[in-house]
Amino acid sequence: MPPRLPVIAHWACPSTPATRVSIFSFRRCASSSATSPEIYDVVCVGGGPAGLSLLTGLRNSPITSGLKVALIDGQDLQKSRLPKDASLGSFSNRCSSLTPASVRNLQEIGAWKHANASRIQPYQEMQVWDGVSDARISFDWDTARPLLTPRKPSQPTTIAYMIENVNTTSALLGRLEELGGVATFSSTKVESIELGKDAEDLDLSSWPILTLSNGKTLAARLLVGADGANSPVRSFAGIESRGWDYGRHGVVASLKLEGPGRGGAEHKIAYQRFLPTGPIAMLPLPGNMSTLVWSTTPERAAKLKSLSPNDFIAMVNAGFRLSTADLEYLHSIPSGQAEEIAWRGKHTPINEAQIPTNVVEVQAGTVANFPLKMRHADTYTGERVALVGDAAHTIHPLAGQGLNQGQGDAAALVKTIEHAVTTGQDIGSLLALEQYNSDRYAENNAMLGVVDKLHRLYAVESGPIVGLRSLGLRAVDAMGPLKGFFMNRAAGGA
């Protein structure tokens, strides 16, 4: 077992007498004293999509609904809820592409029906091309079918669902509220996590004891770290997380296009162009709205953020149309990009049928950027500890898999806990958690690796690599069944 490191935020009470407690005494004096930790089966730190999905899964399952569970989040969870009167003219800039597998899981745990459906946009086609060579691949279920086989009516047409992260958390919180039974500590910080003590009749020396900013102490049979990339739970468990920074930032924005898209409202298309500085992606939202994810150098990200709305819109349009040399120049001038692009556009041959329609408006206050990282924890489990979501892994956003991986983690951990409860295992024991680690680690690692390699492959600007990757892309594009295989993987299927 890795060494446990005490996590200290602010020491409220350094010698937490976490020990003189039994399950009976806390029941008698639960509110009378801060010295007796309340004993929980599962304590989840972090109320993001992964943590909420885990708790919803546990409360939803008849096998695990008897467990005593708690949720702690430093933020106000009400802010993770979509306003009831949210307008379809404005969208959050934090969106994700939910795979059919993630959606199926959300349906199974009863959360999907709580999502605001009018703000979810399924898309049926994906256009991906090389910004240097223009080699292109298009994905849709119709061309991905095996040769000479007719299209089955039952075949899905949706590749994935664009959804605001706040809509996902809102749906999960709605379902959790319906299910009830979660001790929720919102706007509450974890001040410290340390191991309990070995007292006379009860030995809590393997149990994490959490001291909260409201003075309460909780003992966790299983402590779940859903607390993000800098997970304090992971630090407590002494689990290393390794990886690297890409030296890139993701620039996001909510945009309005001049129409619903080239396929109309019923056939939405996602676009991604690989530029040497990183991919630029335009993902469809309901109506004429779209969300932008542009991975680029920190300098260019800062530049884009500083532009006037007009110049910013012009730069996004140029990102899908102009050459890498043009783009390099456009990032170097202080302003006036709009005029410059209008002139250059006239002299660049563009096949408008293969690129997103023009951006006409950027929603105020939605242009933001964040650094891109690749991180993977050495393991997802420790004695009485499990990690889910970003606490376990951080991925480059180019394949839109981050949130889906977290949903997959949550579903797998629920399954592992169900099996442990059915067979009387201690759900916090390493032995009971083994299955979760083996279910998820290799799969996530493979996805992290593929996405990382893609990033590196397309960072090359010239030379034989460009020719080879273009050849590969065109070859896959020509082979329906192979494309079907890739699409199945991206959809979260086997």
Binding site: I23, L202, T423, G424, Q425, D426, L431
Partner: protein
């Protein structure tokens, strides 16, 4: 012998024994006791050395649990195979409880675990929501100490009456005088192959089972495969199981158990009253069910007391 073929079923530790050390070298294998086809007449006549009044445990089987105590609950330790097998025990018991033509048992069950060791099964049974109580007995004080120390690590198991350990052999347990004192599930996991006279030993257990309740056990068949796998591969070659754990001559065949229970009045006569499940340890995959495996390797056996 290729390990991949041979270690397909592994006998694991329950009542460990210290026998004269055998050489771990392959060269020594041919000198071992060769498996014999003769039936083990465990019900017909009692072996002469058996003294039921004292103990069912072979006096020559000296405990080496002191060495194992600290590592009993280590998931990577010598008891790993036993830990991995434990969930299957519950799967098997669930199947017994759902067997047709049974008298409905109470909603909360009383368990008696005989030869509980460090408490792997007893703890897990006590954690189940449908458990009223678990009484777990073992004659070896050191092992019972391990079990009790580990019980303190779970507040749930410290609830009064949920899990009680007794340093007793089955002979020392008072014979129940009413159904309330009897148990719905009496378990005997990895014990039978370590006692000298299984017949008289089982006879002492029978009164503790409530009418409609189940006696559930797991053991290993006395066959050529089990000899090669448990004594040679598991103990000597792969060292997956502590040395001296097994005495192949004491293994019991499933058919012998079936025959024995058929001769007992009031056992396994109603409906699907006798159940068997063959299991096998597959490295990299864990314990797997193997239909027919009871004929040659590890197996579970359960018999219901007629109501």
């Amino acid at each position: 012998m290729a390990p991949s073929r041979a270690h397909n079923c592994v006998r694991i530790l329950r009542y460990a024994t210290t026998r004269p050390l055998r050489s771990p070298s392959i060269a020594s294998i041919p000198r071992r006791t060769a498996p014999q086809a003769a039936a083990r007449g465990f019900s017909a006549q009692q072996p002469k050395q058996h003294e039921p009044a004292k103990s069912s445990v072979d006096p020559t089987e000296v405990s080496h649990f002191n060495n194992l105590a600290s590592s009993w609950w280590d998931p990577q330790g010598p008891s790993r195979l036993l830990h991995l097998m434990n969930p299957l025990r519950h799967t098997f018991i669930s199947r017994c409880l759902s067997a047709p033509a049974g008298t409905p048992l109470p909603s909360k069950l009383r368990y008696l675990d005989i030869g509980c060791g460090g408490g792997i099964f007893a703890e897990s049974a006590a954690r189940l929501p449908k458990t009223a109580s678990v009484t777990a007995i073992d004659p070896t004080p050191e092992v019972l100490k391990v079990a009790e120390l580990h019980q303190r690590r779970d507040p749930l198991l410290k609830q009064p009456g949920r899990l009680t350990y007794l340093n007793k052999s089955i002979e020392q347990l008072p014979i129940p005088t009413s159904a309330e004192e009897q148990y719905d599930i009496v378990s005997l996991f990895e014990v039978l192959e370590h006692v000298n006279a299984p017949g008289p030993f089982l006879t002492q257990i029978l009164p503790h089972v409530k009418p409609g309740g189940w006696l559930v056990l797991s053991t290993i068949a006395r066959t050529w495969t089990s000899w090669a796998v448990t004594n040679v591969m598991a103990e000597d070659v792969l060292r997956m199981v502590p040395k001296g754990t097994h005495d192949w001559n004491k293994y019991v065949n499933e058919a012998e158990l079936r025959d024995w229970f058929r001769k007992q009045a009031g056992w396994g006569g109603v409906g699907d009253g006798m159940k068997t499940l063959g299991v096998m340890y597959v490295p990299g995959f864990g314990w797997k069910e193997v239909p027919g495996g009871e004929g040659w390797g590890n197996y579970f056996f359960a018999v219901r007391r007629d109501a």
